[in-house]
């Protein structure tokens, strides 16, 4: 869908990491306040909130919004696995674009380190017995390793290419004060390759961490934002596309957390068409790099190069800061971190800073169009396109 007259009014994000002694609703409160302050608003100005998280109990979203005040506004929970935050943003933007809300917020928070500590088959993340047990038997790294192995077979991709993408994102993280991983040295391909093997060919440094964190974005009409911030570059929400899987032969029903790669291609095309732009127009992109090999595939599926040519983009440094199409400038899931719900909103946060040209040491020169992509288990995909204008 194409959004009409819809812009980002404010963003807020806590540094992702481990917040063992901080209640989730307080993480949400602090990110929500950051976004409200960035937008110059209070909860009284917000018409609707979409909350998103993965690892917490029911109803926590409403309680989190109460930490910002009790104004009687509608609150709706959104959950779509890793893509939760970007789907919550999409609903907030659609609420504004449709005219049903003048100002809407996506408020996302999670404590995934609790979930990781409980193990995959216990606690609130339990998927039960029987069929669900079979579904839960294999950790996410293995699913994406299966994809990586097939890639190596089909195109001769070397594991060092995955390592180069991971190293790039670790090094981007060093420039982002809100990144979980901020290495104190330049991470090398050799260092990534030498880290502990998780699921061949993926090493620990090619995998995202489990995180706690929170992030919020406030969306409003363009005129509303212009009036309040006449001197700030305006960040328009141009388009959003979302899909679940379409059936094709060879579909594995039992097991995979993320479906056929073609889903990213068709979702991306839909978002480009709705925005009236193409890959050549995009200044920077944020994608679901939970595992480094994913990012390589998304270069191709999102149209930044032909199938099988992603390895050359990596070799040429084209997707690093300073390259032709920088990817995951905030460190991506691998370095910025992946708390679940907030991940997609952190992408919007980064794009807002970049398109306002407030991204400091990691600023992409002349950034105009930005793209945020997320996939989520089940599976789902969403691609969202933004434009920064003076």
């Amino acid at each position: 869908m194409r959004f009409e007259g819809t812009a980002i009014a404010g963003v807020g994000q806590l540094r992702f990491g481990m917040y063992r002694d901080v209640p989730a609703v307080e993480l949400a409160r602090d990110a929500g306040l950051l976004a409200l302050h960035d937008a110059g608003l209070t909860l009284a100005d917000i018409d609707e909130v979409f909350v998103g998280y993965l690892g917490l109990q029911h109803q926590v979203g409403v309680k989190a919004v109460k930490e910002l005040g009790l104004t009687g506004l509608p609150v709706t929970h959104i959950e779509n696995a890793s893509a939760t935050g970007l789907f919550a943003f999409r609903e907030a933007a659609w609420a504004v674009s449709s005219g049903r809300a003048e100002v809407a917020m996506a408020l996302t928070f999670d404590k995934m380190t609790d979930v990781a500590g409980r193990g995959s088959t216990s606690g609130s993340m339990s998927r039960g017995a029987g069929r669900d047990q079979l579904d839960a038997s294999i950790l996410p790294a293995a699913f994406f390793a299966l994809w990586a192995q097939r890639r190596m077979h089909d195109y001769g991709t070397a594991p060092e290419t995955f390592a180069a993408i991971a190293a790039k994102n670790w090094n981007h993280g060093a420039l982002n004060p809100l990144a979980h991983r901020q290495p104190d040295h330049a991470v090398t391909v050799e260092e990534v390759m030498a880290s502990r093997m998780i699921a061949e060919p993926l090493t620990a440094m090619m995998c995202c961490p489990a995180d706690d964190g929170a992030a919020a974005v406030i969306v409003a009409g363009e005129d509303f934002v212009r009036r309040r911030f006449p001197d700030r570059r305006l960040v328009r929400c141009l388009s959003s596309a979302a899909q679940s899987e379409a059936y094709s032969p060879g579909h594995a029903f039992l097991g995979p957390v993320v479906g056929p790669p073609t889903m990213t291609r068709t979702t991306g095309q839909e978002a480009y068409d709705a925005a009236g732009v193409g890959p050549d127009d995009i200044s920077l992109a944020l994608c679901h790099d939970a595992f480094a090999n994913e990012e390589l595939e998304y270069y191709e599926l999102l149209g930044f190069c032909e199938p099988g040519q992603g390895d050359k983009l990596v070799a040429g440094g084209e997707t690093a800061l300073g390259g032709r199409i920088p990817f995951n400038t905030d460190g991506g899931l691998i370095a910025r971190g992946h708390p679940g719900g907030p991940t997609g909103v952190a992408m919007v946060h980064e794009l807002a800073l970049q398109l306002r040209r407030e991204a400091g040491a990691r600023q992409v020169e002349g950034a105009r169009f930005g793209l945020a992509h997320c996939v989520g288990g089940g599976s789902v995909c969403t691609v969202n396109i933004f434009e920064g204008v003076d």
């Binding site: 088959t121 029987g130 077979h153 060879g250 039992l254």
Partner: protein, 139 residues
């Protein structure tokens, strides 16, 4: 003592050489075959499918060796293992644990279906899971 499947998508009978079969569905309207069983055809949306027992061998589409314990150690002490996706002749792509060592697997090879005991339940039955093994390998 009996063998109890950890899920009901395969049939197990007592006896050392008892065959294990995956049970899928065939759409009577468009003939597409699915695993696991389902009521509504995913391709043509016809309601109602026929049970079908699937091939016991297939072609390895992709695989990996996982250096993390299976089931996070809650169901079995398996410190590392292989997992892969196997294409059956009828069409379904089945993701499953593979039996063997890291050097045993390559994309495109033929695998056959087998069983492995994960643990004993409270009644002393073997709780089993289906796995795929390279054709001709010792078991």
């Amino acid at each position: 003592m009996a063998r109890v499947p950890i899920a009901d998508y395969f049939e197990v009978t007592d006896g050392d050489d008892a065959p294990v079969r995956l049970r899928g569905s065939r759409c009577p309207a468009c003939d597409e075959v699915f695993y696991p069983r389902r009521l509504v055809c995913a391709k043509c949306l016809h309601e109602g499918t026929d049970d079908v027992l699937l091939s016991t061998s297939g072609t390895l589409y992709t695989w990996t060796w996982v250096h993390v314990p299976l089931f996070a150690k809650t169901d079995a002490e398996v410190s590392e293992y292989a997992v892969g996706q196997v294409d059956l002749a009828e069409g379904p792509r089945v993701q499953a644990i593979l039996m063997g060592a890291p050097g045993d697997f390559s994309i495109g090879m033929q695998l056959e279906l087998g069983l492995e005991t994960l643990r004993q339940d409270a009644d002393g039955n073997d709780v089993v899971i289906y796995r795929f093994t390279p054709v001709g390998a010792d078991r």
